[in-house]
């Protein structure tokens, strides 16, 4: 379970596409876990690129142990329009993931 991924990644369409591949539940679960990690790392990478040096350590601390409340408040303060910025980037990631899954269906 990853905080940023949980907040921002829409999984409905991804689950729907995985369903079409007729995988077993445990396989889908495994893929969703890896996708969660992938999206979390991508979002963290993006956020770190937008933070000032002095804010980076604070961000890491909150990522590790901060409450969700303080964590999000921090993001709102440090990144202008954080919901829109992270939401838009998550949509791009979702599209990329869907493309990967769909390409497999085409080669079926």
């Amino acid at each position: 379970m990853r905080m940023l991924s949980l907040f921002f990644l829409k999984k409905d369409n991804i689950l729907l596409e995985l369903e079409k591949l007729e995988m077993q539940q445990r396989e889908k679960k495994k893929l969703v876990d890896v996708l969660d990690e992938l999206v979390e790392y991508r979002l963290v990478n993006m956020i770190m690129s937008k933070l000032e040096k002095r804010d980076k350590e604070l961000f890491i601390e909150q990522l590790y142990a901060g409450s969700a409340e303080i964590f999000i408040e921090f993001l709102r303060e440090k990144i202008e329009n954080c919901e829109q910025v992270l939401g838009q980037y998550s949509k791009e990631l979702e599209a990329e993931i869907l493309e990967d899954i769909e390409s497999l269906q085409k080669n079926k």
Binding site: M1, R2, M3, L4, L6, F7, F8, L9, K10, K11, D12, N13, L15, L16, L21, E22, M23, Q25, R26, E27, K28, K29, K30, L31, V32, V34, L35, E37, L38, E40, Y41, R42, N45, M48, S49, K56, E57, L58, I60, E61, Q62, L63, Y64, A65, G66, S67, A68, E69, I70, I72, E73, E83, L86, G87, S90, I97, D100, I101, L104, K108
Partner: protein
């Protein structure tokens, strides 16, 4: 034969996707390690592995959910539940638990607009308009009890001693909280109603939340003041504090009486309340309203988180 062939295809799809996603993941991990050395420096300092930083990231989220707080904030609903035409597996259902918490939008802009469009000198009008936006029933008078004012200066208070022996070393749950809020120091005692909990062992999550988001009101200046019943009525009373300049809103609990009339201030807020309202440098003007919440459904904390 048909069944065997199908199983083989499924496994192949899974393996291909898993390989692809794992490769992407490793690539971004590598990029993070190269571009942001702060992670390794921080992890070394704490005696952790790089991966530990991420795997524990949801701890605060789980705590928040357990405490009944509404934590999703993106306004884009965090959507982990399967679509309607997908039969959810038990494993995936577990994940959807947290997503069932309803996301709330950032309402700061609307709050400022509501106040601007209200009759500033009529707190009932402000409360009515804010109630619609916040979807919380706000009152200037509840159960017949009112404050001396609903608008005034809020002072920056210290942390309350929650139980005998509570101090700066025991007060915070994380390093981050300590770094952010220890500077406010301890008040040197409990609030007007005594300790929130009799001992550390009996301190509940609810007690922690009440102190974290505690409010101070001039109970003794209330037009209803004068009986033990009214004094008790104020204890733990849920109220909303609104910074009209920033539109920030918090839901807190009355845990202390004050400030003294001579201070010129009308209300007080815990360090967490003041920071959340955007008053890091000291007091400023707020609106304060009672929350009409007989079923105790409105969580304490920063509204919208």
């Amino acid at each position: 034969m048909g069944l065997l062939r199908q199983t083989k295809v499924e496994n192949k799809n899974f393996k291909i996707l898993l390989k692809k996603f794992e490769e992407k993941k490793l690539s971004v991990v590598q990029e993070i390690k190269e571009k942001h050395k702060d992670f390794e420096t921080w992890a070394d300092k704490k005696g952790l592995n790089f991966e530990d930083i991420f795997s524990k990231g949801a701890r605060g989220l789980a705590t928040g959910a357990a405490a009944g707080a509404i934590v999703l904030t993106s306004g884009l609903r965090a959507s982990v539940e399967p679509a309607n035409n997908i039969s959810a597996s038990k494993d995936l259902e577990e994940e959807s638990l947290l997503a069932s918490l309803e996301a709330k939008k950032d309402v700061r802009g609307q709050v400022k607009k509501d106040i601007k469009e209200s009759n500033f000198y009529n707190p009932d009008d402000v409360a009515k308009n804010l109630s619609k936006t916040l979807k919380i029933s706000l009152k200037t008078r509840l159960d017949g009890v009112a404050l001396n004012t609903n608008y005034g200066i809020m002072g920056y208070e210290s942390h309350l001693t929650r139980y005998p022996g509570d101090n700066l070393a025991t007060h915070f749950e994380t390093d981050t909280e300590y770094k952010r809020f220890a500077h406010a120091s301890m008040a040197g005692g409990p609030g007007a109603w005594g300790h929130i909990a009799p001992s550390k062992q009996l301190l509940s999550k609810r007690d922690i939340e009440r102190e974290r988001y505690y409010l101070v009101v001039q109970t003794f200046l209330s037009p209803n003041w004068g009986s033990p019943k009214v004094k008790q009525w104020f204890h733990h009373r849920k109220m909303v504090a609104v910074n009209p300049a920033s539109g920030r809103v918090i839901v807190g609990a009355v845990e202390d009486a004050g400030p003294e009339r001579a201070t010129g201030r009308n209300f007080g807020g815990s360090p967490e309340v003041m920071e959340a309202l955007g008053f890091s440098g000291g007091g400023s003007y707020v609106f304060m309203f009672f929350v009409d919440d007989p079923e105790d459904k409105v969580p304490l904390g920063v509204y919208g988180l």
